[in-house]
Symmetry: C2
Subunit: 146 residues, 2 copies
DNA sequence: CTCCGTGCAAAGCGTTTGCACGGCG
DNA sequence: CGCCGTGCAAACGCTTTGCACGGAG
């Protein structure tokens, strides 16, 4: 997913383009981190102080519904990330400290589905948690033991 | 994990055995479902009306800390299940409708870890969501599209 | 008899929603 | 100029916590 593509999706679906949406999308486009609403607010507040929490939540919800963002739940919070290319299905390592993600190309679903006849599969999640190399070097340990 | 084993773990760690803890543990021992605090309260209320929400949360927290229960987050709620045998590492299919779980013996971690040198892995999650055979037959669809 | 476990009530936290105004198209 | 997007504030749902009483060991 790239920035212009995301803006196009907004337009096509009848959503207006505003400076704040632009700023939000640009933030995601520049980052490969899974971010909470609060992360986002902190990141943006430097460049864009006048962005309320409500607006962030509302737009995250819109973006996710349009497939611009993907999200996961971790430690009781929703974390959002720019959606990866749909053609290339994969999963993520997620740093529990800084939220940075790394692609895991392996998907175990194909081997598993045979053992689930009679079950109607609607989705799956394969995520690896830990510290990225940058955070391993650092000292403190902030997020709970996943 | 079996009921007597769980009670033993409580005792060894200096926790008292009470009727309400016994009732909670018995409920988990009899079920292979992932249950929210509210599920539990509803299940128990029939046989045991005098069990407050607080007590359930507090005990779930204790049980999980002692490894008696395992849990996952789904749809903004924590869902708990009797811990499976630690010696036999595996994952779960989880019915998004009734919470019932089914073992998935395959674990993709061994193939993946090679591509993550420099990363400090602390955990992983592999879960499959959908409807169990019983809920496929039924009509309504309650939980969100995982 | 001494703590731990419990119920009650209130607070905490992330998130959602009702309302009225202002700006995009 | 109509409607969507936004900020404000309040509500919401799940969960946690402070307090005082009652029961387990």
């Amino acid at each position: 997913m790239i920035l212009t593509e995301a803006i196009e999706i907004l337009k096509v679906n009848g959503y207006k383009y505003t400076d704040k949406r632009g700023e939000l999308l640009r933030l995601f486009a520049d980052s490969d981190k899974y971010m909470t609403a609060r992360d986002i607010q902190q990141e943006i507040q430097m460049a864009y102080p006048s962005l309320s929490t409500d607006t962030i939540y509302r737009n995250l919800s819109v973006f996710a519904a349009l497939g611009i963002l993907e999200y996961t739940e971790l430690g009781g919070e929703k974390r959002f990330r720019f959606a990866c290319d749909v053609n290339h299905h994969h999963h993520h390592f997620i740093c529990t400290e800084c939220g940075v993600s790394k692609d895991i190309s392996l998907c175990p679903m194909k081997e598993v589905s045979g053992g689930l006849s009679g079950y109607q599969i609607s989705g799956h999640k394969f995520e690896i948690y830990g510290k990225c190399p940058d955070c391993v070097t650092g000292s403190d340990c902030t997020v709970e033991g996943y």
